[in-house]
Amino acid sequence: MQVKNLIEKEKFKLITGEEGITAEIEGLYCCDLLSWVMSHAKGGDAWITVQTHMNIVAVASLLDISCIIIPESIDIDQKTIDKAKEENIPILSTNLNSYEIFCEMYESGLR
């Protein structure tokens, strides 16, 4: 599954540029402690986090994360969005919570 397949679903909204949306989603990871994510998430993962600080973009870029998913319609700092555009990291916003995102991805064939 590619990031753009997610955006095609109504439940996920792309809030950055189109760059990077053809990236392949190979796994799903959920954590909000960035130091933990840095040492445990894998390249190609879609990453769910409630953190919206600019550092999430740096962490995603470092790990080659396919996209960042911000759950529960949390507001995202403009600086973070700008930085993500610059680094070509897609950020998706959704009103789903983490569990619902996992269900959605599983039903879409990510397993």
Binding site: M38, Q51, H53
Partner: protein
């Protein structure tokens, strides 16, 4: 000149602060230990700073009004101010950004407010233990606006610390000084995080009990023994 400091001390106002952490007990303990300057840094509040400043008057010890603020990212920042007015103005902002929940004294202890005679003059009903709805960047902006200074707290810890939560120090923040906890071995820590060598480090007690307060063991270099010089040294 070198002065002995401990810039992270809680009073009985903080959740989990021992009820013996009264203004007189703290100030006199710090004098006994020979500290030159301390900061009173309760969780999301500065309400006991006034009494501590009054107790410390003419006793030769510098007391800086401060707060240990918890940002919405769950990062603890030590915010220090040169005057109680600036600290109170910051507190007003923080109180507007705290959740409207009441403290549960059974779980988190009573949040006591003292006068200079150590008499309990009130109890803070707010749930001070939670996060304020202020981002790290907003806090830096607001503290700088009040000519204050920020020291990220216990960055060696995995919880409630700038590095533990955000992974690394955002480079857009104007930080010169970082705090590590009392038990941290700074050399080992810096071997692990070599990029942090460019920062100045202080060690603080994060005291919740009288016996936690530092001895004369952590020093900073200042031109003169006053608040202005201390802020110069940390900034």
């Amino acid at each position: 000149m070198k002065i002995a400091v401990d810039f992270h001390i809680h009073t009985a106002l903080s959740p989990c602060g021992d009820e013996d952490m009264t203004p007189n007990n703290i100030i006199n303990m710090c004098i006994l230990k020979g500290l030159d300057a301390i900061a009173i840094t309760d969780h999301n509040s500065v309400e006991n700073c006034i009494a501590c400043l009054q107790v410390a008057k003419n006793k030769g010890i510098i007391v800086i009004p401060g707060m240990e603020l918890q940002t919405k990212e769950e990062v603890h920042l030590i915010c220090l101010f040169k005057s109680i007015d600036k600290a109170l103005s910051f507190q007003k902002l923080v109180y507007d950004k705290l959740p409207v929940k009441e403290n549960n004294p059974k779980l988190f202890g009573r949040q006591l407010i003292f006068n200079k005679k150590d008499e309990v003059v009130g109890e803070n009903k707010r749930m001070l233990i939670g996060s304020s709805n202020l981002s790290i960047n907003e806090v830096f902006h607001e503290v700088e606006k009040r000519a204050g200074i920020i020291i990220p707290a216990h960055v060696d810890r995995n919880s409630y610390s700038l590095i533990g939560t955000l992974g690394f120090i955002p480079k857009e923040l104007s930080i010169k000084t970082l705090e590590v906890s009392k038990t941290c071995n700074l050399n080992t820590f810096l071997d692990k995080y070599r990029y942090l060598r460019k920062y100045q480090f202080i060690q603080s007690s994060d005291a919740h009990y009288l016996w936690d307060i530092l001895e004369r063991e952590n020093f900073i270099e200042v031109d003169q023994k006053n608040i202005g010089s201390i802020f110069e040294s940390l900034r």
